[in-house]
Structures are given as C-alpha cells and as structure tokens.
C-alpha cells in the first residue's frame, strides 16, 4: 500500500478548474518533485493534501485512510506536514519556540497540569526543550535558538520552517519552493539537507520547485502539471525528454 494515494482529486474555484483528475502515488521514503509552470496549480495541490482546501471531487488516502474533509491540524497529526511558499513563521517568537509549537500534539499534559506545573509538566517541557535543540542542531541553528524568528536571514528562516515541519513528526513532508529566493550556494546546501532529512527521518518528501535542474538532481520521481492536470510522470531522465513537458515550459 502506498503511503499517500490520490484518486481523481480535483477542485474548482467559481467554476474554474484549478486542479483536476489528479492521481498520484507516493511510497514510503520517496523523494518526489512536483513541477510545472507558474499558476499550474502546484500550491493548490498542497492545499488540497493538507486540508486547507476541500476538494470538489476525488479522494486522498493516507495509509489507506481517506482524509478528505479532515481539518488541517488533524491531517498534520496523521502525518502530513508542510512548509509555505511565502514563509509562515511565528515571527515574533524565538527560534526554539517556533519549533516547540510543532511538538504540541505530541505532548500530553493537561491544561490543569500546565497551570499547576505538576511534575509531569516539567518532565515534558524538559523533553521537548531538548528535542527542539537537537532538531535545531541538525540544521546548525542551535546558536540561534533564542533569536527572534523575524530577525533571521532569509535562508535560515526557510530552514527553520523545515525544522518546524519536521518537529510534527511527519511521514510525508511537503516543501513548497524551499529554495525560492536563495542563491545557488544556499540552494545547493539546502538540497543536501533535504536528502539528509529523508535518510535520517525515513520520510517521504514531495517537493515543489521551479528550478528544473535542481529537481532533476535530487528527485527519484517527478510529476509535471500544467493547467491543473498531470501531463507527465516519471524519472528525471524520462521527464527531460518528454515532449509535452518541453512544450509546457517553452511553449509549443
């Protein structure tokens, strides 16, 4: 059984079909690229998978369970986590607090235990403090743990958002243009990090990216969409030579 499978997924906005007949299969530990020209519906796919939009048709199976209609936070708890194209951090909070937020549903102490600061509170808070620091260490950000998120350089903000998404302990991580706005060197580093994350956490990653060369470099499988419809699926080699894809990118 695939980790994630969509069947004829589609959504209309006021009669306009943004995504349609979207069928995709993601296996455990797979690294897949989702590419397509501007406005092709890539982010809309992410919004459908994470429950931000309710699809007009079709279904989404996560480990065999249909998650259509579930709230975004429920889907996160079931194991799909994401980053945003236009970085959404908790800007005025510290870096470590940003990460701690994402441990919320993994913690158990009740509201009362938190208010009374029962031993359980201290134990769990200590645990997630260490976990958060460990995670930041993986991204070489432990020195920035107490910096305010909005003051970080752009690249670090992107990394923090990925760290935060990882803290929710996902099975599938959706990255929306993680390299946007980075210079080639930063992009290179980021791609290494993404590879590393996949291996270290043993998770599947679905990645939206504009830079074709970059996606080709790291993804095992690539899905190309245009006008909300999948026009090609395959290995980087297959995609490179696909006429439809070339047409979509360069114009017929």
């Amino acid at each position: 059984m695939a980790l994630l499978e969509t069947k004829d997924l589609g959504i209309n906005f006021g009669g306009l079909r943004a995504v349609g007949d979207f069928n995709i299969k993601i296996e455990d530990n797979q690294l897949i690229g989702l590419i397509g020209p501007n406005g092709a519906g890539k982010t809309t796919v992410f919004n459908l998978l994470t429950g931000v939009y309710l699809p007009t048709e079709g279904s989404i199976y996560l480990n065999g369970e249909n998650i259509v209609g579930k709230k975004p936070y429920e889907i996160v708890q079931k194991g799909i986590s994401r980053t945003f194209q236009n970085i959404r951090l908790f800007k005025d909070l510290s870096v470590i607090d940003n990460v701690k937020m994402a441990f919320h549903h993994k913690m158990n102490y009740s509201i009362g235990a938190g208010i009374l600061r029962l031993p359980y509170y201290w134990k769990e808070e200590k645990e997630i403090h260490e976990k958060a620091l460990d995670l930041l260490k993986l991204f070489n950000m432990e020195k920035l743990a107490y910096a305010t998120a909005k003051n970080l350089p752009y690249g670090e903000q992107r990394k923090l958002e990925i760290a935060r998404a990882l803290a929710t302990n996902p099975k599938l991580l959706l990255l929306d243009e993680p390299a946007a706005g980075m210079n080639p060197q930063e992009t290179n580093e980021l791609m290494k990090t993404i590879h590393f994350i996949r291996d270290k956490f043993q998770i599947a990653i679905l990645l939206i990216e504009h830079d074709m060369g970059l996606v080709m470099g790291i993804c095992e499988k690539i899905v190309v969409i245009d006008y909300g419809i999948i026009i090609a699926t395959g290995t980087p080699e297959e995609i490179k030579n696909n006429k439809k894809v070339i047409g979509a990118y360069l114009g017929e």
Partner: protein
C-alpha cells in the same frame, strides 16, 4: 388598512433616520477604506457639526445656507487636523494603537465641548418650518422629504466624485494599495486629508439633519448615532461606499420597525442582532468581498 398605513409610516420614518445614518456611515467607511482605522471620533464630528450650527443660528443669527456652510467647513478642518495630529504619526504602528488614539480623540472632543458648552442638553432652534404633507391617510413631513433628498443627492454626488474625478480615483488607488499609489505619483497624504475632509463634511450635514429631527443637542449626542452608523458601515461591508448607504437604510428601517412594533427599549438590541446575523452569514458584510488569505 390602518395596518398598512402604520407600516408605511414606520417605513418612511425608517428611511428618514436611515438616510442620516447612511450619511454618517459614509464617513466611517471612506476613512476605513483608506487608512483601515475605525475613526471613533467621527461620531463627535457629528456633534461638532450640530454645535457649530447651533452657535451660528443662535448667536450669529446667520441664514441657514451660511449656517450649513460654516458647520461643514469647521468639520472639514477639524477632520483634517485630527488626522494630521493624532492619526498620521501612528500610520505604521499596530492598528490597535491607532484605534485607542481615535478613542482618545473622541473623549477629548466630548470633554472639550462639555467644558465650553456644559453637559446640559440644549434645544436646537427651529430652522425649518415643519409641516405635514398628507398623501391619503399617510403623513409625511417636509423635513423627512428634505432629509431624504439631501442625503440621496449627496450620496450620488459622492459616488460620482469617487468614480470619475481624479481625486476620487486617487482615493480608490490609495485604499487599494498605499505603496503602489505612492509609486504612481499619487500624493498619499493629500488624498488621506481629502478623504477625512469629505467624510467630515458629510458628518456635519448628517449632524445638522439629526439635530433638526431630534432637536436636543449635548456634547455626547454623537456617540449613539456614530455607533449605529459605524455598524451600518460594517453591515454593508466596510470600505465600500454603496454598502454604507444600504447599511444605513437597513439600520434606520430596522430601528423604526422595532420601535413601532416591539419596544423602543429593544431597538438597540435588534440593531445589534441584525449585525450579528449578517456577519454570521456573510463575515465581511453584505457587499464585502470575502478575501481569503492566500496560503
């Protein structure tokens, strides 16, 4: 038959008050549209308009046209000054700080006028010989007709101004995107001043019409009509000019019917109830666009 007459009578009363609310609501909505601020002091502009008219009539004994003109000009200048002194420094601050400042300005104006004029209510002089026109069994006062006509003319004028004049277009551009408007060579500060001036002018006229309809004025008279007009603006979709007009009429009619058929004490609760109902169904007001935050 009597039932129908009563119904029509209430409807007309409602339109009468509603057109005043609509005039005041326009000031709220225009200011909100351009600086995203609930201008709490707008209710006090109404009060000032009424008081200036009061002095012009009783002390200066001026003819009605001059009375209106002086009151309008005074309020326009006040509106511009309020914006320049109190709101402009806060344009880049958290919006709630600007809101508190607006409340501060409101308290300031109320208490200033209370110091000058004492808190005692004053009878507003009869500037208009009110008589009733009978249409069948239906009675309409000339005041009602004048109020409605004046309001409608002003609204049409405003609509034309905003849509077809250069300044009006600048206003719309600034409310759409201040930064972009500035880059297009629009003088943002002037445009904001003009918006406050127009809103205040309409408020002054609204204040005078209100005082003629309810001929007792005091320094706190602006609070309730101000609040209701603001709700009218929200009801119609804040920032949207036709919305404010429609909202004003809905408020006036709802209030008039509640007073006529249920209880005058509950009128305020009904008015707020309508607001809650509308916002529950349509969170951005009747004409408001549902702007979903882009994810």
């Amino acid at each position: 038959m009597e039932g129908i007459i009563k119904f029509l009578q209430q409807l007309i009363n409602g339109i009468h008050v509603g057109s005043i609310y609509a005039l005041i609501a326009l000031g709220y909505t225009m200011v909100y549209g351009i600086v995203q601020l609930i201008n709490f002091a707008h209710g006090d502009i109404i009060m000032m308009g009424a008081f200036i008219a009061f002095i012009s009539i009783t002390v200066l004994k001026l003819p009605i046209i001059l009375v209106i003109l002086i009151s309008v000009i005074f309020c326009m200048i006040s509106g511009i000054l309020i914006e320049k002194i109190a709101y402009k420094p806060l344009r880049n601050s958290p919006r709630i700080s600007a809101l508190i400042t607006a409340i501060g300005v409101s308290l300031f104006l109320e208490n200033l006028f209370m110091l000058i004029f004492t808190p005692n209510p004053k009878p507003f002089p009869n500037v208009l010989k009110v008589y009733q026109i009978n249409i069948g069994n239906l009675q309409i006062s000339n005041l009602t007709i004048i109020t409605i006509v004046v309001s409608v003319i002003l609204m049409i004028g405003l609509d034309f101004f905003v849509k077809h004049t250069k300044t009006g277009k600048a206003m719309r551009a600034v409310s759409e995107d201040q930064g972009a408007a500035q880059l297009m060579g629009i003088n943002v500060n002037t445009t904001i001043s003009v918006t406050f001036a127009i809103g205040s002018a309409l408020g002054a006229i609204g204040g005078i019409l209100y005082s003629i309809a309810y001929p007792v004025i005091d320094p706190f008279m602006g609070i309730m009509p101000g609040l209701k007009a603001f709700i009218a603006a929200v009801l119609g979709g804040i920032g949207i000019i036709p919305g404010a007009m429609l909202g004003g009429f809905i408020m006036g009619i709802a209030e008039s019917f509640t007073k006529g058929y249920i209880s005058s004490q509950l009128a305020d609760a009904v008015v707020f109830g309508i607001l809650i109902l509308v916002l529950s169904i349509k969170p951005s007001g009747i004409f408001g666009k549902n702007i979903k935050e882009k994810v």
